[in-house]
């Protein structure tokens, strides 16, 4: 099969697996999809999310791997009131485009993430930018940026789930 097509299928497989784990709240397994020096970012709506630098602009989420792990630990506790009990989450991932840059694989994909809990039901709409590397034969995520294609996080009050 065409190598590029093959690559895209592998990446799609990874993204779908990631989405599925998040939907099932299997967050430890979700974390294992990432490299040990990975980052997870959610920029705000009034900067160019594709290029903004979390060290220079205020983001919603700027996690290094330590904080990603802490986020997962926190979300498993009943003291994480916003997500206790866990909300119903569904990640839709589509339009996956893949580009190789040496050993680095970059993908762009569209997402809608639905969060329903209690009296609220919110949709997060945007695109993912994943940076993916091959580690011991498996693909791992080195960086995930969730760019919201929204004017503001309203009426959403929070990004208490993982996008």
């Amino acid at each position: 099969m065409d190598q590029q097509l093959m690559r895209r299928l592998q990446v799609e497989d990874l993204l779908y697996r990631e989405a599925d784990l998040l939907d099932q709240w299997r967050l430890d397994e979700w974390l294992s999809l990432f490299t040990a020096d990975a980052h997870y970012f959610v920029p705000p709506s009034d900067v160019d999310g594709d290029t903004a630098d979390p060290d220079k602009s205020l983001f919603y989420v700027m996690d290094d791997h330590i904080r990603m792990r802490e986020r997962v630990i926190r979300l498993s506790k009943i003291g994480a009131h916003s997500e206790h009990p866990h909300s119903k989450v569904r990640h839709l991932v589509t339009n996956v485009r893949v580009e190789s840059d040496g050993a680095l694989i970059r993908s762009r994909a569209s997402f809608i993430v639905s969060r329903a809990k209690d009296i609220t039901h919110d949709l997060f709409v945007g695109h993912y930018l994943h940076e993916i590397v091959e580690c011991e034969g498996a693909l791992k995520i080195a960086k995930k940026t969730c760019v919201l294609d929204m004017e503001a996080l309203r009426p959403h009050a929070r990004i208490s789930i993982i996008l």
Partner: protein
């Protein structure tokens, strides 16, 4: 106003009750616009957001679209962002640089000070039409600055900004003194909403009582993160700053980029923080430097400006559009000259605790929304208790509710005034 929407305060008995109707009643909500949002000084923006002549931004303040500009000479203007012709929004961009603004409907063009520069088909109008005062963009009745903080007031008359700010002014000054070269709003705005009454966020913003329960996971996280906590205990006071403004000021174990070192920042960080502290002492003296570096402050300037000078500095405003809904904007404020390394820590600190994606704010939001839902119980469950620390000897502690009482007394006074 019915008795059910007034607070009940009895200092001698240590009793302070706020009626839950204050959070749910449509009539109270409308009165709040008359009595508070249309009469108080409201935060508009920071000078650093309009960095050069020609800069502009648009922002909703108390439900009204406002255009904030700096003209060619550098003078700041606040205009109601509505065309004098037929009312369309004149500027539809969020921010940028432009010497003039063209209304997209019929093409009237306005200067940064709102004056009508040109209009197509001018021959269809009588002489003097273009300079008719009624054909110019309307300025917000009052715009004043306190340092680099700009405030507007939709009422033509009333006390000036400095008088209004009362004792809060010195704290605004204190937060500006973090820097020798001036503070700046860092790019990137957190814009979110909460499905709850706006006064719940005013209370929550300086509620020193809720952390242990509501933010247990955040506190546990800090303990986990090796070296993120120093050994300073949480301790401090609450202060009534008059006119409804209040704050809590306290020491805390977390790091502050100005200038409280924690082990996580390493030896190199220690040297940098020590240098910043030495410069603060030299510029401002021991007492002020110590407060800036080592004390945290959560302040609410009545009615809805929050300045939290904690592990980072946030400026936050929130406006209700209904009794059970508010829109929130939050910005990060930082010293201009801050090193890249510290700026990074500052933003890392900010997002760790604050905002919709932080480890704490989502649980504040949950608390606020659950209060709002609880009020539906109505019936016999009519009052909130805000009495903690009222009878404490030696004054209120940071985890009492003195600061909230200051807010509520002013709220009640202003609503009673329009009622009378």
């Amino acid at each position: 106003m019915t008795a059910q929407t007034r607070i009940i305060a009895d200092q001698a008995r240590g009793k302070f009750l706020v009626p839950r109707k204050a959070f749910t009643d449509q009539r109270v909500f409308e009165q709040e616009y008359d009595a508070i949002f249309n009469r108080c000084w409201l935060y508009l923006g920071h000078a650093s957001e309009l960095p050069e002549p020609g800069s502009f931004l648009t922002r909703n303040v108390a439900r009204r679209p406002v255009l904030f500009t700096r003209d060619r000479e550098g003078t700041f203007h606040a205009l109601l962002n509505a065309c004098p012709h037929r009312g369309a929004l004149v500027c539809r961009e969020r921010h940028g640089k432009s010497p003039a603004f063209m209304c997209m409907y019929h093409g009237w063009v306005f200067g940064a000070d709102g004056h009508l520069m040109s209009l197509p088909g001018a021959g269809g109008y009588p002489k003097g039409f273009k300079t008719d005062p009624q054909k110019q963009m309307v300025p917000v009745p009052r715009l004043e600055r306190f340092g680099d903080f700009f405030f507007i007031n939709f009422a033509k008359d009333g006390e000036d900004l400095a008088t209004y700010l009362a004792d809060a002014g010195d704290y605004l000054k204190l937060v500006s003194e973090h820097s020798a070269s001036g503070m700046q709003v860092v790019g990137g705005t957190q814009e979110y909403a909460i499905r709850g009454n706006w006064k719940l966020l005013a209370e929550n913003s300086f509620d020193g009582y809720h952390a242990a329960c509501n933010h247990s996971t955040y506190l546990e996280y800090l303990q986990n993160a090796n070296g993120a906590l120093g050994s300073t205990p949480l301790a401090g006071v609450a202060r009534d700053l008059k006119n409804g403004h209040a704050l809590v000021e306290y020491s805390a174990p977390w790091g502050r980029p100005v200038a409280n070192w924690v082990p996580l920042w390493g030896e190199e960080g220690k040297r940098e923080i020590a240098a910043i502290y030495a410069a603060l002492v030299q510029r401002l003296g021991d007492e002020r430097a110590d407060r800036i570096a080592h004390k945290n402050r959560n302040m609410v300037i009545f009615p809805n400006l929050v300045i939290n000078d904690i592990m980072a500095i946030t400026i936050r405003t929130f406006f209700p559009t209904a009794p059970n809904y508010m829109e929130i904007n939050a910005w990060a404020l930082a010293p201009r000259e801050e090193s890249e390394w510290l700026r990074k820590y500052r933003l890392y600190n900010f997002t760790e605790f604050l905002g919709p994606g932080g480890f704490a704010t989502p649980d504040d939001v949950e608390a606020i929304e659950k209060c709002q839902q609880g009020y539906a119980a109505g019936g016999e469950a009519q009052y909130n208790d805000i009495s903690k620390g009222m009878l404490r000897e030696g004054g209120a502690s940071f985890d009492d509710e003195e600061q909230m009482r200051a807010f509520w007394v002013e709220w009640d006074r202003r609503l009673a005034a329009v009622e009378a």
